[in-house]
C-alpha cells in the first residue's frame, strides 16, 4: 500500500476506536492544515454518517480574521457541530500576546482548553499534533493520558502495543488522541493535494501587510497591533507554514501560490515549520514538554 494510504487507514482506525470506546469524545479544531486533514479523515471514517462528536475551537481572540471566516464557512457547509470556547476571564483581564508572553499562552490556550474540556465533560479529545513537529511530541504516544489536572506524565506513559489501544480511564481523567502522530509536514501537504482538501488561504503566498519584528515577519491583521519605534508596515509576498495567533505566527517570504509550489518548497525546506511559531522558542528546547505537562495539547 502506498504510504499515504497507510497513514490514512491508520488514522481512520484510531478515530473509529475512540468513538467506539470513549464516553464523550470531541475533536479539537484549530483551523490549521493539520486540523483540516483531521476533519477530512473524520468525515471519511464515518461516511455516510456524520462524525458522531462535536468539534471544538479554542479561540484566543487573536486568530487571523481569515481563519475565523474559514472555520464558520466549513462548519456551515459540512453541517457539523462547531463549539467555540473563549477564556472570558483572560479577555476581561486584557491578556494579550504583546505584553504577556508565555502567560498569554498559558491563560488563553492551556487554561482555556482545560476549562472547555471540563465545562462540556469531554473524556477524550482528538488533536492534530504530529510527532515530527517537535522533540517531546516525538516521544508521545498516540493515546496520551492526562490526570484530573490534564497534566501529561512523560516518564510514565501507558504502553501502546500493536493497534490495541487501552482507552480505560478513571473518573476525572481524560485522553488526548493524536491520529496524525505518524504524519510528516510533507505527508500533510501531499494528502491535501491528493484529496483536494480546503485550507485557509493564508497558506498561499499573496501580498500582505507585514512588519519585521525580532527576525520574524508578522502580519498586521487588525489595529490592535501597535507598531514599535522604527517599525513600518510593508507589503510583501508571504505565506504561513503554520497558523495560530497572528502576533505570534511568523510568515515566510514566498511566491508559492499553489499547492504544487508549496509542496516543492516544503520538500526542499531547510528549516522546520515550528521555527515560525514564536511561542515554541520561549524557554529553550524543552518548552513544549513543559507546557504539555501543564495540560497543553
Amino acid at each position: 500500500m502506498d504510504h499515504l494510504k497507510e497513514l490514512e487507514s491508520e488514522a481512520i482506525y484510531i478515530i473509529r476506536e475512540v468513538t467506539a470506546e470513549c464516553e464523550k469524545p470531541v475533536m479539537l479544531y484549530s483551523i490549521g492544515k493539520d486540523s483540516s486533514v483531521m476533519l477530512h479523515l473524520a468525515l471519511k471514517a464515518f461516511y455516510p454518517e456524520k462524525p458522531p462528536f462535536p468539534f471544538l475551537h479554542i479561540n484566543t481572540t487573536w486568530k487571523f480574521h481569515e481563519m475565523i471566516e474559514f472555520r464558520d464557512k466549513r462548519a456551515e457547509e459540512l453541517q457539523i457541530e462547531m463549539l467555540e470556547y473563549i477564556n472570558e476571564d483572560g479577555v476581561n483581564r486584557g491578556i494579550n500576546p504583546f505584553e504577556h508572553g508565555s502567560a498569554y499562552t498559558d491563560i488563553m490556550k492551556t487554561q482555556a482548553l482545560k476549562n472547555a474540556l471540563d465545562k462540556y465533560g469531554f473524556t477524550a479529545a482528538f488533536g492534530g499534533g504530529r510527532r515530527d513537529e517537535e522533540k517531546s511530541r516525538a516521544k508521545e504516544r498516540i493515546f496520551s493520558f492526562r490526570n484530573r489536572e490534564h497534566a501529561w506524565d512523560p516518564k510514565n506513559q501507558r504502553p501502546e502495543m500493536w493497534n490495541l489501544f487501552n482507552t480505560r480511564i478513571n473518573q476525572g481523567e481524560s485522553i488526548r488522541i493524536f491520529p496524525l502522530s505518524n504524519w510528516t509536514e510533507a505527508d500533510i501537504w501531499q494528502y491535501i493535494r491528493k484529496e483536494n482538501i480546503p485550507i485557509v488561504p493564508l497558506y498561499f503566498a499573496k501580498p500582505r501587510p507585514v512588519v519585521q519584528r525580532d527576525g520574524n515577519i508578522i502580519m498586521v491583521d487588525d489595529d490592535r497591533m501597535k507598531l514599535l519605534p522604527g517599525e513600518k508596515v510593508e507589503t510583501k509576498m508571504v505565506r504561513f507554514r503554520t497558523l495560530g495567533c497572528y502576533p505570534l505566527t511568523g510568515g515566510v517570504e514566498s511566491a508559492a501560490a499553489t499547492l504544487d509550489e508549496i509542496i516543492d518548497e516544503t520538500l526542499g525546506a531547510v528549516e522546520s515549520e515550528r521555527t515560525s511559531r514564536i511561542i515554541d522558542s520561549d524557554s529553550g528546547s524543552a518548552s513544549m514538554e513543559k507546557r504539555k505537562r501543564e495540560g497543553y495539547f
Binding site: 481512520i12 522533540k135 502495543m161 487501552n166 528546547s285
Partner: protein, 612 residues
C-alpha cells in the same frame, strides 16, 4: 515497492549508541532541517561530549533524558530517501524501560539491533531479540557498533557474527543481516566505509532502503474485526473496520464470527467511494445483502480459519510493577473485543539468557511467561503466527486501568485438550419450567458476625416452605469439603471464590435457587463471581455495623483479632469493601431475622417467578 513505508526500530543495550546511530544517519543523509542542525550543534557544545557533535541529542527529547543522558521512552523519527519512506522508533536500552522498547517493537516490521563490538552479545541483546520475536518482528539487522574502538578488526567482527547466528538459531525469522559500523564516526552508516574494506556488503542505510519486508499474505483468508456499526438512517447499515488479512470483493459470501451466520457482500466503501474489493490494511465499510446480527467485536471472515473459544495459552510480556500470580482478573483486549479474563495458571517463565523454561508461581516486570487464560465470554481468536491481528492481546488491570501485559496467542486450549463444550438437550430453561421457578444465586456479603448465616438459613427455610427448590452454600462448610485444600492467602482466596461461583452456576443450571453466605470482602472477588454466574447473580449486603458485629462476637474472633492473634481479619486489620449496587441492604441490628427475610423476599419474588 518503491516509495513504500518501512517501520523499523533500533534497540540494544545501554550505551550501544542507538540514538547516535540514527542521529548520524539523519545528519549524513541531509535529512535535518537547518534549525534542527543548528540546535544540535549548539547543544553539543554545552554537553559532555568535548564539543563534538552529540548526535543522540536529536532523539532524546524529554528533559529527564537529556539530564540523565539516557533514553527513557520511544522516540519516533520520520525520513524519506529517494527510495523509501521510513519511520524509526528509537527505543530505550535500560532494562527498567523494557516495556517501552516493546511498544516500539510492536509497531515495527524490522529491528536494527546494536551490539558494542567490544562487548559482543549481551544479556540485554538476547532480551531484546526475544521481545522482538514475541511481538512479531521477522526481519533483523545487527549493527556491530564502535568498530572504531575495536580497531576495525575483522576477526572481532567475525567472532560476534558467529555468536549472533548462534543466538538467532533458536528463533523464527525471515531475513537477517550483520553490518560492522561506527555510529560516532559514521562508518557504513549511509555509505560504505573505506576503513573496513574487508566488508563487502551494503551500508546500513543502503540495506534498509532495499530490504523486502512485505509479509506475503500467507493465504489466511479474509478477516476484518468490526469496529463499529454505521447506521445513519433506516436504509443504510454498514460495518466499519480495518481489513486484517486477505481480500474481499462485492458478491462474496462471508461468515460472521462468533455467530457463524452467513451473508453476501452487497457493497464496499472506502471512505465515501464505492469499490469492488478491499485488501489488508484498508479502512472500509462493508454492506451485506441480508440483515444479520453483527456488532463491535464480531469478525467478518471469508475462508479464514479462526477459533471461537474461551480458553487459550498466551506467551506474555509482563509490564506491571506488581507481580502476576495465577487467578488474577483482567480485561482482555484482542482485536476489537474486550472481555473480562482470568489468568488461570502460569505454565512457566522463560529464562531470558538461555531460553530455558522455569517453573514459577509468579511473574515479575519485564519477564516473559506462558500462561493459560480463560475469558468471561467466548471470543474470536487465532494463533499469532498465522493471524497476528487475531492473536495479539493486552491485559488491562481492572483497578488501575494500566496495560499490565501484552501477549500473543500460542494455542487454543480446547483444541489442545480436545475439549468442546457439549450442548445438552435438557437445558436450564427446561429444568426451571419443571421446577416452576427461575434459578438465581443470592450472594450474601457482610462482616463476620453480621448475621449472614442466620438470615441465609431463615431465607432458605421460607423458600422451602413456599415449595421452592434451594441450596445453601456456607463459608465454613465449603471450606471443610470442596475447598479444604485452600488457605487464606490472596491466591487461595480467589480460588475459593471461583470454585463457589462455579458450583453456584452448576446448581443454577440444574434449576436450583442458591443462597451463598461468605464474607467476600473484596469487590473484585465478587465481580469475578458475578462474571461466572452471570445475570442470575443477585448481591445482598448484610450491612450490620462493625460495632454491633464486634459486640456480638459469636465466635470470639474479633477479640482474637484485637489481641493480634489473627492476621488480616476483615473489619479490623483488613478492609471490607461494601457492594456498590446490591439488590437490597439489610441491617440485622435494626430488624429482626424474619423482617430481614421479608425485605429480601420482596426483592426476590419477581426474579424467581417462572413464566411471564
Amino acid at each position: 515497492m518503491k516509495n513504500d513505508l518501512l517501520k523499523f526500530i533500533t534497540c540494544g543495550s545501554v550505551d550501544d549508541g542507538k540514538s547516535t546511530l540514527i542521529g548520524h544517519m539523519l545528519y549524513d543523509a541531509k535529512l535535518l532541517f537547518t534549525d534542527q542542525k543548528k540546535a544540535l550543534e549548539l547543544e553539543s557544545r554545552v554537553g559532555s561530549n568535548d564539543g563534538k557533535i552529540d548526535y543522540s541529542l536529536l532523539l532524546d527529547g524529554l528533559m529527564a533524558e537529556r539530564e540523565q543522558g539516557i533514553t527513557i521512552d520511544v522516540a519516533y523519527r520520520y525520513f524519506t530517501t529517494a527510495n523509501r519512506s521510513f519511520i524509526v522508533a528509537d527505543t530505550p536500552g535500560h532494562e527498567e524501560y523494557t516495556r517501552n522498547m516493546a511498544v516500539g517493537a510492536s509497531f515495527a516490521s524490522l529491528s536494527v539491533i546494536l551490539i558494542d563490538a567490544s562487548q559482543g552479545v549481551l544479556l540485554q541483546t538476547k532480551r531484546h531479540v526475544r521481545i522482538c520475536v514475541l511481538v512479531g518482528i521477522r526481519h533483523f539487522v545487527f549493527a556491530v557498533n564502535k568498530m572504531d574502538l575495536a580497531g576495525y578488526d575483522q576477526a572481532r567482527f567475525q567472532k560476534i557474527k558467529k555468536d549472533i547466528k548462534l543466538l538467532m538459531s533458536e528463533f523464527d525469522y525471515k531475513t537477517i543481516k550483520v553490518i560492522p559500523v561506527s555510529a560516532t564516526e559514521g562508518d557504513n552508516i549511509t555509505s560504505r566505509s573505506d576503513r573496513m574494506d574487508w566488508y563487502t556488503g551494503p551500508s546500513l542505510l543502503q540495506y534498509l532502503e532495499n530490504v523486502d519486508v512485505s509479509g506475503e499474505d500467507e493465504n489466511t483468508g479474509f478477516s476484518m474485526p468490526v469496529q463499529r456499526v454505521c447506521r445513519p438512517n433506516r436504509e443504510f447499515r454498514g460495518f466499519q473496520g480495518q481489513v486484517a488479512s486477505g481480500e474481499l470483493s462485492v458478491g462474496d459470501r462471508i461468515t460472521v464470527l462468533p455467530s457463524r451466520e452467513q451473508a453476501g457482500v452487497k457493497a464496499i466503501l472506502q471512505g465515501d467511494q464505492k469499490v469492488d474489493s478491499c485488501f489488508r490494511g484498508q479502512a472500509v465499510t462493508v454492506q451485506l445483502e441480508s440483515e444479520i446480527d453483527i456488532s463491535r467485536g464480531c469478525v467478518i471472515t471469508k475462508d479464514c480459519n479462526l477459533t471461537v473459544g474461551s480458553m487459550l495459552t498466551a506467551s506474555i510480556l509482563w509490564m506491571d510493577d506488581n507481580r502476576l500470580t495465577a487467578g488474577m482478573n483482567f480485561f482482555l483486549k484482542l482485536g476489537t473485543q474486550q472481555v473480562p479474563a482470568t489468568v488461570l495458571s502460569i505454565r512457566y517463565k522463560t529464562d531470558i539468557n538461555s531460553g530455558n523454561r522455569i517453573e514459577t508461581d509468579h511473574v515479575l516486570k519485564n519477564e516473559i511467561a506462558l500462561c493459560e487464560i480463560s475469558t468471561g465470554s467466548k471470543i474470536v481468536f487465532g494463533q499469532f503466527y498465522n493471524h497476528p491481528a487475531h492473536g495479539s492481546l493486552i491485559l488491562i488491570d481492572r483497578i488501575t486501568n494500566a496495560t499490565a501485559a501484552c501477549g500473543v496467542v500460542v494455542q487454543n486450549i480446547a483444541e489442545e485438550n480436545n475439549l468442546t463444550w457439549n450442548e445438552m438437550d435438557i437445558t436450564r430453561d427446561l429444568r426451571q419450567a419443571r421446577l416452576g421457578q427461575k434459578a438465581v444465586t443470592v450472594w450474601m456479603t457482610g462482616l463476620s458476625g453480621s448475621g449472614k448465616s442466620t438470615v441465609a438459613n431463615a431465607l432458605e427455610k421460607r423458600l422451602f416452605a413456599m415449595g421452592k427448590h434451594t441450596m445453601l452454600l456456607d463459608g465454613d462448610n465449603v471450606r471443610m469439603g470442596l475447598n479444604k485444600n485452600l488457605g487464606f492467602g490472596q491466591q487461595d482466596r480467589m480460588e475459593n471464590i471461583r470454585r463457589i461461583a462455579e458450583v453456584s452456576k452448576l446448581m443454577n443450571d440444574a434449576g436450583l435457587i442458591v443462597i451463598t453466605s461468605f464474607i467476600s470482602p473484596y469487590r473484585q472477588d465478587r465481580r469475578s463471581a458475578q462474571e461466572i454466574i452471570g445475570d442470575s447473580f443477585l448481591e445482598v449486603y448484610v450491612s450490620t455495623p462493625l460495632s454491633e458485629c464486634e459486640r456480638r462476637d459469636v465466635k470470639g474472633l474479633y477479640k482474637a483479632a484485637r489481641e493480634g492473634k489473627i492476621a488480616d481479619f476483615t473489619g479490623i486489620t483488613s478492609p471490607y469493601e461494601p457492594p456498590e449496587n446490591p439488590i437490597v441492604c439489610i441491617d440485622t441490628s435494626q430488624n429482626d431475622v424474619e423482617t430481614c427475610v421479608d425485605i429480601i423476599l420482596e426483592k426476590l419474588e419477581d426474579r424467581i417467578r417462572y413464566g411471564e
